[in-house]
Each structure stands twice: as structure tokens, then as C-alpha cells.
């Protein structure tokens, strides 16, 4: 095998929410557009498209990333989880129930990103305090809530009080 030749598209194979996916994608396609437009998983939102707001947060190989700052070709060979994967069996996760109970959203546009960032936090640190939650959600902007109920919802999951 010689040095791979650069190409304008690439056949990628990856796992999305537990399912194997194979696709030919243009090199210039952002991961978020691949997820939304090619796979039809529109739960992942495009907010700012500049890497600031975090509405497009998904997990790549278990860590949270902003899918507007990755090319789809970069995700070749990875395992991706989107917000649709959280309640894959139709049962809401404890975090999703807590968001509901704490009224942790108003317009809901940032919620998929908030859920993915907070899910990643809770996997690493099952009982985060308020400060830890705020640091973990620094990359997710909400224009409605003022964050108070979002932070309370995440803390409550760790305390088992949601």
C-alpha cells in the first residue's frame, strides 16, 4: 500500500447510536450535517455554526465534541452517540426525566447539546456538585433559562433526588 491519495470524498463506516452506518461523504461535509441531513437525526441542532454554542454536541468514542467543528470524514471508524441514542429503548434516562421535572428548558433549542454534555459528565463523575456541572456545561449556551434549572437538574441526578 502506498501513501493514500487525497480525495474529495471518502467512504466512511462508523457506529451511530449502536447501528453500523456506511456512507460516501464529501470531504467538506461537517459532521453535524452528515448526522442531520444524511442520517436524518435532526435532534442534533445547529445553533451558531461557529463552535461556541454547543447545541450540536454529540459523543465521539465516548467523549463530547461539537459536531459543527468536525468533518464527517474525521468520524470514519468512530462510535457516535446523538441525543436520539439516549432514550433508544423509548425509556427516558434519569437525566432526561430530571430536565422535565426541573423545567430545565424553555425553547428547547439548546437541550440536545445540554443533555449530551451532562450525560458525558455523569458518566465520568456520577455525583457532580454545582461547580462541576457549571464547568462541564461551559461549552453549552442557553439563551432562555439563565442555567439555574439546568444545573439543578443535573445535580439532582447525581443526588438521586430527581
Amino acid at each position: 500500500m502506498g501513501t493514500p491519495a487525497p480525495a474529495r470524498s471518502r467512504a466512511i463506516s462508523l457506529e451511530v447510536n449502536g447501528e453500523a452506518v456506511e456512507y460516501e461523504v464529501p470531504a467538506r461535509r461537517l459532521l453535524v450535517h452528515f448526522i442531520r441531513d444524511d442520517l436524518g437525526l435532526t435532534g442534533t441542532h445547529v445553533g451558531c455554526d461557529t463552535g461556541n454554542c454547543g447545541a450540536c454536541t454529540v459523543h465521539v468514542d465516548g467523549v463530547s465534541v461539537k459536531s459543527c467543528m468536525l468533518l464527517a470524514v474525521q468520524a470514519d471508524g468512530t462510535r457516535i452517540a446523538t441525543v436520539e441514542g439516549l432514550a433508544a429503548d423509548g425509556e427516558l434516562t434519569a437525566l432526561q426525566r430530571s430536565f422535565n421535572e426541573h423545567h430545565a428548558l424553555q425553547c428547547g433549542y439548546c437541550t440536545p447539546g445540554m443533555l449530551m454534555s451532562a450525560t458525558a459528565l455523569l458518566e465520568q463523575n456520577p455525583h457532580p456538585n454545582e461547580d462541576e456541572v457549571r464547568v462541564a456545561l461551559q461549552g453549552n449556551i442557553c439563551r432562555c433559562t439563565g442555567y439555574v434549572n439546568i444545573v439543578e437538574a443535573v445535580v439532582a441526578v447525581g443526588e438521586g433526588t430527581s
Partner: protein
């Protein structure tokens, strides 16, 4: 957003990466993409070929050289740096500063090599690596060369890494009789710096570098000379910083006037040195 058409290659070895970069005009290495993808959206960069370094496992390691230098691969992410036991033992300030870069998602993808190769004057790592006396290993088709931090950062968005070359690792001397400090003023809690200062203090004196005031980090040489006597009392450090601001020619922008940045440079330098002194005592 729809990007300009671009070609993509994913080499399996550093040699392949270097030959791809050399063979294609307009080729750029793609590390974590946390800057490059965004500047491509803004059409501020328009590479014809992206050489994705993701599969180059040898660039993802943190370890020690036979001489005891802390070696950080160019593709090491900030998150890796923050969690590294080697960094914690040898030079914890690197992890501490990395933990304040942007946010979790960016730290999960953004790389040390990408940070320094962008050479944005407001980036955190440049002034720190200057005071830590880091060296940078650059691979090209003709072999490897090593440059020091003051030679590495050449200008705004410009480094010693030339066409067809690749930064492979950054080597940092481990802390010995030293203490390190970093201070500055950001826009928002973990935002971009308006001015920052890095300092390392040893029995021989201090190394101090100021960021965000010029194209590349500026060594506070006069302040260093005044501290060469080893008197690191708060009064001595404050006295030594006097005139530092006046020696600088920082930019004015919406975040701060040149005069404000001059004032911040002195304040930040004092805080960074005092922090370094405090840590050296431990």
C-alpha cells in the same frame, strides 16, 4: 455551513503525512480541527488538501526522553494533558493552563500541536512554553530538526514549521528547583486572554513572558534582570515590573486599549511571578 471544496487524506505514518504535505501545494495538516475547521468556514483559510493526523498514534503519546525531558506528542489533546500523570509529576502548570482553554468539548478535540501551530497571539500555551524553555521537533522530508520556543513562534499565524513539514512533539524540561505561574485577564471566565503572563522562578532568577501584546510572546527581559539577584519578595517583584508596560507596543481593540494592556502586562507579570514563587516553596 458548506465549506469550500477540499481534498482529504488520512496517512498511516508520519512519513506518509510528511510526503503528502510536501507533494501537494496548499496542503495543511488537520489535527483536532478546533481552529482550522472554523477558519475554513469563515474562508479565512482555504486549504486544497487536508492531511488528517488522526491515525498517527505516535503523536498521541506523553512520556519522557532518555534525558528526562517531558515529551508531549503534537496530537495530544488538552483533555489528555489535564489527565496525564507524567505532566502532573514533571510540569503540572501545563495541565492547569490547559484546563482553562475554551470548554470541555474543545478540550476533548483540541491538540497541543494545533494550538502552537496556529500561533494565534492570544493562545494560552505560547508564553508558557517560552518560559518553560520548551523545544519543538519538526519533521520534514529531509529529516528532523529541533527549534527552541523563541525560534518557533515567528509571527501571527506563523511558526518555524515550513511547507511540507510537521510538528511532531514538544519537549519540556521537568521542574527541578523551579516554580511556575500563569496569570492574566480573560474575556469571560475561560475566554480569550486580553493579556496573559507566564513565569518560572528558580534559584537563578525568573523567566517571564507576556502574551497578547505582540505577534509572539514577549520576554520581560528587564524585569528578569532586576530579579536575577533572587529577591522574590512582593515589593521586589512589584518594583521589578515597573516600566514593563511602557516597553511594550500592544494593540488596541474592542477588548482593551494599548494603555490598558500595558497596565495589565505589569499586573499579570507580578501575579505570575508571585504565584511561581509561592509554588517553588512547596
Amino acid at each position: 455551513m458548506l465549506l469550500r471544496e477540499v481534498e482529504y487524506a488520512r496517512p498511516a505514518t508520519v512519513e506518509e503525512a510528511v510526503s503528502l504535505l510536501a507533494a501537494h501545494e496548499g496542503a495543511r495538516p488537520l489535527a483536532g480541527g478546533q481552529t482550522l475547521v472554523n477558519v475554513m468556514k469563515a474562508r479565512a483559510a482555504a486549504p486544497d488538501v487536508l492531511v488528517d493526523l488522526v491515525d498517527l498514534a505516535e503523536l498521541r503519546t506523553i512520556g519522557f526522553s532518555s534525558e528526562g525531558l517531558l515529551e508531549i506528542g503534537a496530537m495530544v489533546t488538552y483533555t489528555q494533558l489535564i489527565g496525564s500523570s507524567e505532566v502532573e509529576v514533571a510540569r503540572p502548570i501545563l495541565a492547569e493552563v490547559a484546563a482553562t482553554i475554551a470548554d470541555v468539548q474543545v478540550r476533548n478535540r483540541g491538540t497541543v500541536g494545533g494550538n502552537v501551530c496556529v500561533s494565534d497571539p492570544t493562545n494560552h500555551l505560547a508564553p508558557l512554553l517560552v518560559v518553560l524553555d520548551a523545544s519543538f521537533t519538526i519533521r520534514g522530508s529531509g529529516g528532523e530538526r529541533v527549534v527552541l520556543a523563541y525560534e518557533f513562534f515567528v509571527g501571527v499565524y506563523m511558526t518555524a514549521v515550513g511547507e511540507g513539514e510537521l510538528l511532531t512533539k514538544i519537549s519540556v524540561p521537568p521542574a527541578s528547583d523551579t516554580g511556575d505561574g500563569f496569570s492574566g485577564v480573560t474575556i469571560g471566565k475561560h475566554g480569550t486572554y486580553v493579556v496573559d503572563a507566564a513565569a518560572t522562578v528558580s534559584g537563578e532568577g525568573a523567566r517571564i513572558a507576556i502574551g497578547c501584546v505582540a505577534a509572539t510572546p514577549v520576554r520581560a527581559t528587564e524585569m528578569e534582570e532586576r530579579l536575577a539577584g533572587g529577591d522574590f519578595s512582593e515589593d521586589a517583584v512589584r518594583e521589578a515590573a515597573k516600566g514593563l508596560g511602557a516597553s511594550l507596543d500592544p494593540p488596541s481593540d474592542v477588548h482593551g486599549s494599548a494603555d490598558y494592556r500595558r497596565s495589565l502586562a505589569e499586573t499579570s507579570a507580578v501575579r505570575a511571578v508571585l504565584q511561581a514563587v509561592e509554588r517553588r516553596k512547596r
